[in-house]
């Protein structure tokens, strides 16, 4: 899987690159509009992370260019400009997703995985790890081909864990994911803990081949048994 990061801010570019390399992707970077144009016209990418505000041009123009080449469906816009306009315009130009800065690495991982899945699987969006299979569109979980009931939050949490397999998820990142954008009070860790406890119980009952480990004082990690 080949991913292009178009981001002018070096600190952020390096962070994303390091994280994506851990996921065993092939990563390339572009630091401005022109080098990005060069790269996208030559190479094919499975996913492009695009910063809207570039020093020498607007990311939306780049997106228009990608749309003209029929390559815009695997773009995730990353922007500090959380303006709805950008989001709407970007998605109208065929971008797949929009992620506002600042974001957690786990969040970016989940979004990239979703883009890649949608690109690969025709109409069927599903994450499979061992005997566990999570149907994204139907929002259902199957373990050993048997349906397991999850409430909404348990589903979201499991989805997030599966998209970040073997990666450490901090409590903060989890809470923010569960509550969505602009949540003022992401501190309801008791609640998250309770949901994870239930989730573990269900996974155990059905002998799932995955396990959610606790990293004390830090967060959690989903591993395959």
């Amino acid at each position: 899987m080949k991913i292009l990061i178009i981001e002018d801010e070096q600190g952020l570019r390096d962070t994303i690159e390091t994280s994506l390399l851990k996921e065993k992707y092939i990563v390339e970077t572009a630091i401005d509009y022109h080098s990005a144009i060069d790269k996208i016209s030559i190479y094919e990418y499975d996913c492009i992370l695009l910063d809207i505000m570039l020093p020498d041009g607007n990311g939306l123009d780049l997106l228009q260019e990608l749309k003209n080449q029929n390559k815009s469906e695997n773009v995730i816009i990353i922007s500090a400009k959380d303006a709805l306009d950008d989001k709407v315009n970007g998605l109208a130009l065929g971008a797949d997703d929009y992620l506002a800065k600042p974001f957690h690495i786990a969040e970016l991982n989940a979004r990239i995985k979703a883009v890649l899945r949608r690109k690969k699987l025709e109409g069927k969006d599903c994450i499979e790890v061992g005997n566990v299979s999570l149907e994204i569109l139907e929002r259902s979980l199957k373990i050993n081909d048997e349906f397991v009931h999850l409430n909404k939050k348990e589903f979201d949490i499991l989805n997030y864990f599966l998209s970040n397999k073997n990666r450490l998820l901090t409590k903060t990142a989890l809470a923010e994911y569960v509550w969505g954008d602009h949540i003022d009070q992401a501190d309801n860790f008791d609640f998250i803990y309770y949901q994870i406890k239930n989730l573990r119980k269900k996974l155990e009952e059905h002998q799932a081949q995955i396990n959610i480990e606790t990293v004390y004082g830090v967060g959690y990690k989903l591993v395959e048994k």
Binding site: G11, K81, L84, T170, T172, H182, F191, V215
Partner: protein
């Protein structure tokens, strides 16, 4: 005190002083004038008498006034030669008034056929107390007339003259820096008022510039902070995955990430606030408040169950309004979040819709809140440091941008927030 009344008070004081001093001077002048003319009269009488004495020596026998206005008494030559004319005021008993009355009197001496006499001529004086009393009342009348006429002039004429001033005052009172109002206008050609209008407009434009740049600063600052915060969080999350890390170090890093997360939320809320205040949400559509409420409650369903909070929503009335959907969500979601997060385990939330209002009531450990500052930025529950203290400010900013009224009250141990959508109801 009104300007008009104040000028009236000053004028009254000044008039009182001027008229007072003037009447004292006038009184003494008048008295002098009267004395002068009486003195001339009695001197004339004396000369006439001295001429008469040659024809009628019996006059020399008038040792007392009797019915006359003179008396003549013989004196020694030495005394007579040393005698100088004396005019003076004295009191004499009058039969008709049965009282002592003021009298002007002239003592003089003369020689008649080698004999010396002293002559005293009198003339009745104006009664001084009567004079004072009469002039006092005329002065008081003058004073009252003056004040009354000034009051009338003040009320009718000055009010008219000052009208542009009061007009400007009204405009200033209702002027809001955050609304794009026109410049202040005075319909007057009076140079002071024109100057005032100019000064007020200059002041307003300066304040507005400061206000705008302050507003922009918040927006720009929080915008510029997004990327550094993103880098901090990203780097720390990568660091956390390092194998070389001790457990305690990992815990510390997780805490820092948590704090960075708080910073991020704070920053995003400030950005949202500044966008609302800058009117960056323009698209308006028909929004169902009931629907937004339902969606948000569904989102918090598990949390509500976890916290054992009973929630009741009275959906009997549908509240549809014309507003920006994102802002509608920001308004309602912050009120719902507020009701959930400040609640206690086993508490309750009641949501009610009327034709014009959205009402949300919740139980809480907190006593009645100060309705004066709960909507202010960064006013927060001290027991919960994780909350940004901006949620209700966002709700209020949304209400302000549509001219909606949001109220808080504490009733039957329920904290109650009411939003009145009267201004923007969608037509049926």
């Amino acid at each position: 005190m009104k300007l008009l009344n104040r000028s009236l008070i000053y004028l009254t004081g000044v008039f009182f002083l001027i008229i007072g001093i003037w009447s004292i001077i006038f009184y003494f002048n008048l008295k002098d004038e009267i004395r002068d003319s009486i003195d001339d009269g009695i001197d004339n009488n004396r000369i006439l008498l001295l001429m008469k004495v040659y024809d009628d020596p019996s006059l020399l026998e008038h040792h007392d006034f009797g019915g006359n206005n003179f008396r003549i008494r013989p004196i020694e030559k030495g005394d007579a030669l040393e005698f100088r004319d004396i005019y003076k005021d004295t009191m004499m008993y009058r039969i008709n008034e049965s009282d002592l009355e003021p009298v002007r009197l002239l003592h003089s001496a003369f020689e008649h056929k080698q004999k010396y006499y002293r002559i005293t001529v009198i003339s009745s004086l104006v009664e001084e107390d009567d004079l004072i009393e009469d002039s006092f009342w005329s002065v008081v009348t003058l004073f009252v007339i003056l004040i009354v006429s000034i009051a009338i002039v003040n009320n009718y004429v000055l009010k008219k003259v000052w009208n542009p001033f009061y007009n400007l005052l009204n405009q200033l009172e209702t002027y809001r820096l955050d609304s794009n109002e026109d410049e202040l206008k005075i319909n007057s050609t009076v140079s002071e008022f024109v100057q005032l209008e100019h000064a007020a407009n200059t002041l307003i434009s300066h304040s507005r510039e400061a206000y705008i740049s302050q507003k922009e600063f918040t927006g720009n600052a929080s915008h510029e902070l997004q990327t550094p915060i993103a880098i901090i969080i990203g780097r720390l999350e990568l660091l956390l995955e390092s194998k070389k890390l001790q457990d305690e170090d990992a815990e510390t890093i997780a805490q820092v990430i948590d704090i960075a997360g708080r910073m991020k939320r704070l920053n995003q809320s400030l950005l949202l606030l500044s966008k609302i205040e800058n009117k960056q949400f323009l698209d308006t559509e028909t929004v169902s408040i009931n629907e937004i409420t339902e969606n948000y409650i569904a989102n918090y369903e598990e949390l509500l169950a976890f916290k054992k909070i009973k929630i009741s929503v009275d959906q009997s009335t549908e509240l549809k309004v014309k507003m920006n959907a994102a802002l509608g969500e920001a308004l309602i979601s912050n009120l719902i979040k507020n009701a959930i997060f400040h609640n206690f385990e086993g508490g309750s939330i009641r949501i009610l819709f009327t034709d014009e209002m959205f009402i949300i009531r919740n139980t809480s450990h907190q006593a009645e809140l100060n309705s004066k500052n709960i909507f202010n930025r960064f006013v927060k529950d001290q027991s919960n440091q994780n909350n940004t203290g901006l949620g209700l400010s966002i709700s209020q900013a949304v209400c302000d941008s549509y001219g909606l009224k949001i109220d808080y009250d504490f009733y039957e141990s329920y904290h109650t927030f009411k939003v009145d959508f009267k201004n923007i109801l969608a037509e049926e």
